[in-house]
């Protein structure tokens, strides 16, 4: 029998037609057999999944089956891909199955599962809805639909949290820039942890403030020091007559009238705007947000002014006038805030005072 055909020529003779029919029938039964084999392999378990996929693929490639039969093949292959964790491939297979036979509910089901695993929540929702249109009473689809809904809600609430955290952090950055404050790296992280300043509803900053007793390097914390408060008011409270003396201050040298407050001048280099934003996002929902690349020109808060720590040790410690507000002191030209303000407390009446004032003492 001559099995080739000249290009463009139609089967002329009855026998030629019969031959073609026979080939088609062969292909068809081969494809159906392959499908059965694939199903068998799936039942045999994990080790045979790849073989199952191979069977389905070959069956599809025969290109002889009807659309609805091919749809079943694609849906089956999607199922195995899901089992193998090939979610992307499972999704394309399920989609093809749906294209070929829009009433193939199993295909919808698998499309939803694949989309969920890929976190494509909108697609998942769409497939759920379309599937339920075709088969409204499908319990499994309904269950999936509920899961998709709850994933969407969780995602939205997380997005809202992140967006909120970013807004708050950006608000802090712009408040700091507007006040022309200089921010540097943290210095006493082990004492301050992740504490950050807070902007209240009137756009006034409240700072957590660290007080270090230089003589013994013990610390105290002022949780909420509003920038419009004066130092004297807070010191009055800490060193009031009713409050107990500091435990290590056995000779009671640290009384209200004897204490003096200092900050370290030029204690480091300034943070760029991007780094500052990052710092404010640390520990919040927005901690992992990708920030836009920093523009060379917009280094915001004077990161170009790397004021070197004075070699002039006498002016390393700058005295704080108690009758000034926190904001006024933070604004001073040589104050670089180490993420949160740090002030050193000494007592005029202690022998340590001379050492401190001579500039020979250093926090390390």
């Amino acid at each position: 029998m001559a099995l080739w055909m000249e290009k463009g020529s139609q089967p002329q003779t009855e026998s030629e037609i019969a031959d073609l029919d026979a080939i088609a029938a062969l292909k068809e039964s081969a494809a159906l057999e392959l499908k059965e084999k694939g199903n068998e392999f799936v039942k045999l378990g994990k080790k045979h999944y790849l073989e199952a996929i191979d069977c389905y693929t070959r069956a599809i490639n025969q290109k002889v089956l009807s659309d609805s039969e091919n749809s079943v093949l694609f849906a089956n292959r999607a199922h195995v891909n899901l089992l193998l964790g090939n979610h992307r491939r499972a999704l394309t297979d399920a989609e093809e199955a749906i294209n070929l036979c829009p009433t193939n509910v199993k295909a919808f089901y698998r499309a939803v599962k694949a989309s969920l695993s890929l976190n494509l929540l909108n697609e998942a929702k769409m497939y759920c809805e379309n599937g339920l249109e075709k088969d409204p009473s499908n319990e499994e689809l309904k269950k999936l639909a509920r899961k998709v809904e709850s994933n969407i809600i969780e995602h939205q609430s997380h997005e809202a949290e992140v967006s909120n955290a970013v807004t708050v952090a950006k608000g802090l950055v712009s408040a700091i820039e507007a006040r022309k404050l200089k921010m540097g790296k943290a210095m006493y992280r082990e004492l301050t942890g992740l504490k950050k300043p807070v902007l209240d509803k009137d756009n006034i900053l409240h700072w957590p403030v660290l007080l270090l007793y230089a003589e013994v390097m013990s610390s105290d914390f002022i949780e909420d020091f509003c920038e419009t408060d004066m130092f004297s008011a807070h010191l009055d409270l800490i060193f009031s007559e009713d409050s107990p003396p500091l435990p290590w201050d056995t000779e009671n040298k640290y009384t209200r009238d004897a204490i003096e407050l200092y900050y370290e001048a030029c204690s480091g280099t300034c943070l760029s705007t991007a780094k500052l934003l990052q710092y404010f996002l640390e520990g919040t929902a927005g901690a992992n947000v990708e920030l836009p690349c920093e523009d060379e020109n917009t280094t915001g808060i004077s990161s170009s002014t790397t004021i070197s720590a004075g070699d002039d040790s006498a002016s390393k410690w700058i005295r704080v006038n108690e009758r000034r507000t926190l904001h006024d002191v933070l604004r001073e030209s040589r104050f670089i805030i180490p993420e949160i303000p740090v002030f050193f407390v000494v007592s005029r009446r202690s022998s340590f005072y001379q050492v401190f004032k001579s500039g020979k003492w250093s926090p390390q």
Partner: protein, 336 residues
């Protein structure tokens, strides 16, 4: 009579200097009376541009021309017409030309022109983002650099311009913008001995405090200058005791520990109190007032006050402080 007036206005553009001079002197005289203003009004469309042209000429015509314009601008229709023909820009351009002899009059003209919203918008230059606020900055700088001491205080009236523009939200925004630093400069002028300057500053601050709800930080962060300007006028006559002043920042404490000149004008005292009231409506404002021992100052000042309207203003603040959280001293802090 109409044709005579027409002729007169026409002479303003005469090529002959003595004719021009005579005409502008007559026109200027006419603007000093109601009847004169009425009859000139009909020829506004020719009159105004002619007078404007004369502003850039020699002193003998520019001065009467300027005076005439100032008088004319007291009428709101005339003022609107002037704003429409770009009078604000013209005035600003002329103001900063060297050797100008009509500075004082130009400033007064701007005061009148900024009575209307259109005039304010024109001065704020809100139309053009690139130059917005530039005129205002120039005027504030001139206001602060010149002073009463030199005898001829030509920028004295700028304070009144600022009062006008601060009635407008866009104006307040520019004045309060920390990047421009205008508020700080303006407040410092409060110490001037010129009552006009003092009043201008006081009125401007009061108007700006209407932004306390949204821009409190821009007000409080210049508190070093703001509190003295607001509290000293209403602190009464007495010398304060040390137990009171020690709780105040030095700029207040020192001033209140010595004899001082009282502020006689009750309107300034009322404006200061109204400004304080607006600040104290906000929680952070109350807190800030407490932190400088402000309520004590108001208490002592109230004792000395006799003017009923001013007393009312003190009382309004008093009730806010009592009902708003009166115990707002510094918050508790934890000790490790």
């Amino acid at each position: 009579m109409a044709t005579e007036m027409e002729e007169l206005v026409g002479f303003l553009s005469s090529p002959s200097p003595p004719v021009k001079k005579a005409a502008v002197d007559i026109v200027c005289g006419l603007t000093g009376s109601e009847d004169g203003l009425q009859s000139l009004a009909t020829f506004a469309n020719i009159l105004l541009p002619s007078l404007v042209r004369l502003l850039s000429e020699t002193k003998e015509v520019s001065q009467p021309a300027a005076e005439g314009l100032v008088n004319l601008s007291q009428n709101s229709n005339m003022a609107s017409k002037m704003v429409t023909i770009g009078m604000v820009k013209t005035a600003m351009d002329l103001l900063y030309k060297p050797d100008t002899s009509i500075t004082r009059l130009l400033v007064m003209l701007l005061v009148n022109l900024t009575q209307s919203d259109a005039g304010i918008a024109s001065l704020l230059q809100t139309g053009d983002e690139k130059v917005q606020g530039l005129y205002v900055m120039k005027l504030v700088r001139s206001f602060c650099r010149s002073s009463n001491e030199s005898g001829d205080d030509s920028f004295e009236h700028v304070g009144s311009i600022l009062v006008n523009i601060s009635k407008n939200e866009a104006g307040r925004k520019i004045l309060l913008d920390p990047k421009r630093g205008l508020l700080k400069q303006i407040i410092r002028q409060f110490d001037s001995s010129s009552p006009l300057r003092k009043k201008g500053v006081s009125g401007t601050i009061r108007n700006c405090c209407f932004e306390a709800e949204n821009q409190l930080q821009n007000l409080l962060l210049v508190s070093e200058f703001l509190w003295p300007a607001l509290l000293l006028p209403v602190a009464g006559h007495k010398i304060y005791a040390e137990q009171d002043t020690v709780k105040m920042p030095p700029e207040l404490g020192t001033a209140l520990s010595i004899d001082r000149e009282p502020v006689d004008d009750p309107e300034i005292r009322i404006q200061a109190l109204e400004a304080i009231y607006l600040i104290v409506l906000q929680e952070a404002g109350r807190r800030a007032l407490w932190s400088v021992n402000g309520p004590r100052i108001l208490q002592v000042g109230y004792e000395d006050e006799e003017d009923p309207k001013v007393m009312e203003a003190y009382e309004r603040i008093g009730s806010l402080l009592v009902h708003g959280n009166g115990t707002e001293e510094s918050t508790a802090e934890a000790t490790k």
